[in-house]
Each structure stands twice: as structure tokens, then as C-alpha cells.
């Protein structure tokens, strides 16, 4: 039993580790903080895995846990204080030129822009960018598909302004 869980856990992390790493990066900027959050997500998955009965896809299951950990992380850092509509006017907090030159690519700018989004929009965007369907995103976040669409539309407007 323990061996089965371990094998499933290893397989899941091998398959989705990069996605979970990117998701952690959208919640935590500093490298150390990101690694801590990734570890927290991995531990939460490990603990929840024996109770997973296949009610949803593995990917949905993983991302739901990861987002819950991400939210908990933000809450701990007391950043989750403003309503999403209050934050529609996003300040222009782009990565510093040093960072852009060093990483050299748009990828880092996109990650920085995603980090600037209000959490509710950030969740929808990160899941969309990971390739989840509206239905899967709705399932992960516990919202309706039309709500997913509405949030994504606004999130994309914000990203366009940021990029």
C-alpha cells in the first residue's frame, strides 16, 4: 500500500513537477520561498494521495491542492487583503531591466506580469497556461465555467496592459 502511494506520488511529480514549479513561482517570487512552497505542495499531495479515489482527473486533483497551498502561502504573507475588483488598476510593476536582460526572454516578463494579477485572475490564467480546459479549471477552483471565462477575459486584458 505504502509502496503504491510512493510510486504514484513519484510518477505524478515526474509528470507534473514542472507545472507545479511554475504554479509555485506564480505565488512566490524569491527562489527560496518558491522552493518552500513547492515542498509544501508536494507534502500536501503526499498526504492527500491515499484519499484520492479518482472522482476527478489526477491533474485537477493536483492543481486544486497546489492552488490551495498557494492561497495559504499568500494568506500567510498577508497579501490577500484586497478585493479583486479593487485591484483592476494594476500598477506598472515590471521586472527590473537587469532581470530582463539576464533572462533575456519574454518568459520572465510573462511570469512577472502573472504575479501582478489579483489572485482570482492569477489562478485562472496559470491553469489556462498549463493547458487545462474551462471545465477542469472550474472543477479545480470550485467556480462555474462561465465565471472562468469572465475571469480569463479580464485577466487577459490586464496581461496585455502589463506586457
Amino acid at each position: 500500500m505504502y509502496g503504491d502511494v510512493e510510486r504514484r506520488f513519484d510518477a505524478l511529480l515526474a509528470e507534473h513537477g514542472a507545472s507545479l514549479g511554475r504554479l509555485a513561482a506564480s505565488y512566490a517570487r524569491a527562489a527560496g520561498e518558491r522552493e518552500d512552497l513547492f515542498q509544501e505542495i508536494a507534502i500536501a499531495i503526499w498526504q492527500a494521495l491515499p484519499r484520492f479515489r479518482g472522482e476527478c482527473s489526477e491533474r485537477t486533483f493536483l492543481f486544486r491542492i497546489a492552488h490551495n497551498r498557494g492561497i495559504a502561502h499568500i494568506a500567510r504573507r498577508r497579501l490577500l487583503t484586497t478585493d479583486i475588483d479593487d485591484r483592476f488598476e494594476i500598477e506598472d510593476v515590471r521586472p527590473n531591466p537587469e532581470q530582463i536582460v539576464a533572462t533575456g526572454q519574454q518568459d520572465q516578463r510573462l511570469l512577472e506580469a502573472v504575479r501582478q494579477l489579483p489572485v482570482a485572475y492569477r489562478q485562472v490564467v496559470t491553469l489556462t497556461l498549463e493547458g487545462l480546459s474551462y471545465g477542469e479549471i472550474a472543477e479545480v477552483l470550485g467556480i462555474t465555467e462561465s465565471n472562468v471565462g469572465a475571469r480569463l477575459t479580464r485577466a487577459r486584458q490586464m496581461l496585455r496592459r502589463q506586457l
Partner: protein, 189 residues
């Protein structure tokens, strides 16, 4: 850009992001700053030498001064061509991925070793040109006495110190390159 193309482009950029070890990212950023400072120093150096020699040739238009100015301009041009060739493609990683950061660091180390060799060769050429110029235009003694004069002994002394620094730096670069290649092997499993 059409809406779906935009989303697809973002998705590709997003999924290119993988965890980059913080030490590697910091090293690339540090090296980029060093390269930028080096380029500024090269520009300042070129302005001083080319500008100075040109000004001197204008003020004192004698044959030996013009030869000196032309020599300096040619050497500076060679230095710039070498510098451009050795820094081409090393300013930024191809993508924001750990693999690209590592490849860039390895490439920079390799180019660093080549640059060191080029600098040593250039130093010898510049020294030979300067000594030849001084000997032919300011000659006051036979070659042996000239090469063993007190001020020439100080030139040999400085050259020996620079050679020692170059050898030490080369060892450091080789160690760094070996470490980066070991990391590359680890990452590829």
C-alpha cells in the same frame, strides 16, 4: 495578433519557464554585469588611445607619430573584432530555462578561455610594436643594451606578473568550466 494566437504564444512562453537554480541565475546575472562593465571599459580605452593618438598626430604631424597612431588604430580595431567575435551570442540565455542558463554559462566559460588566450597574444603584439617603435625612433643604444635597460627590466617584471595572473585566471576558468560540465551531466542524468 488574434486572440487564440496570443494565448498560444503566452502558453509557450509560460511552459518554457522551468525552475532555474538560484545560484545559476545569479551567476548569469553577475557575469552579464561584468561583461557590460568590460564593454564600457573597452569603449573608454578605445576613446582614450584612438583619440589621444589622433590628437597627437594632428598636433605633431611627424612620420613616427603618424606610424604610432596608425599602429594604435589597427591594434584597437583587432581588439574590437576579437571582442565582438568572442561575446557574440553570450549576452543573454536563449530562453528562461535552467538548460539555457547552464548552456550560456558554459559558453561564457569557453569564450572566457579563448578571450584570455587572445588577450595574451594581443599583449605580446602590442609590446612588440611598442618596443620596435621606441627602438627605431628613439634609439640611443644597441638592442641588447636597450632590452636590458632599467626601464625595460621593469617592463619585463610587469609582464611576468601579468603572465602569472593570466595563468591563475586560466586555472580558475578551467575549474569553473569543469564544474559547469559536471552540473550539465547531472541535469541530463
Amino acid at each position: 495578433m488574434a486572440a487564440d494566437d496570443e494565448l498560444d504564444a503566452w502558453r509557450r512562453q509560460w511552459q518554457a519557464n522551468e525552475a532555474i537554480p538560484s545560484g545559476l541565475r545569479q551567476k548569469v546575472q553577475r557575469d552579464t554585469r561584468t561583461m557590460r562593465r568590460g564593454r564600457i571599459a573597452e569603449i573608454a580605452n578605445s576613446v582614450v588611445w584612438c583619440g589621444g593618438s589622433l590628437a597627437l598626430a594632428i598636433v605633431v604631424p611627424r612620420a613616427e607619430i603618424i606610424i604610432l597612431a596608425v599602429g594604435i588604430w589597427i591594434l584597437v580595431a583587432i581588439a574590437w573584432v576579437t571582442s565582438f567575435a568572442l561575446t557574440r551570442g553570450t549576452w543573454a540565455p536563449a530562453a528562461a530555462t535552467a538548460t539555457s542558463f547552464l548552456e550560456l554559462s558554459i559558453l561564457r566559460s569557453q569564450r572566457g578561455l579563448q578571450a584570455l588566450t587572445a588577450q595574451c597574444v594581443l599583449y605580446v603584439v602590442i609590446l612588440a610594436f611598442d618596443l620596435a617603435w621606441i627602438y627605431y625612433f628613439k634609439r640611443e643604444s644597441d638592442p641588447w643594451t636597450f632590452l636590458t635597460s632599467n626601464w625595460m627590466l621593469s617592463v619585463w617584471g610587469v609582464s611576468a606578473i601579468l603572465a602569472w595572473v593570466a595563468v591563475s585566471y586560466r586555472r580558475r576558468l578551467r575549474r569553473e568550466l569543469d564544474n559547469l560540465r559536471a552540473l550539465e551531466r547531472d541535469m541530463k542524468g
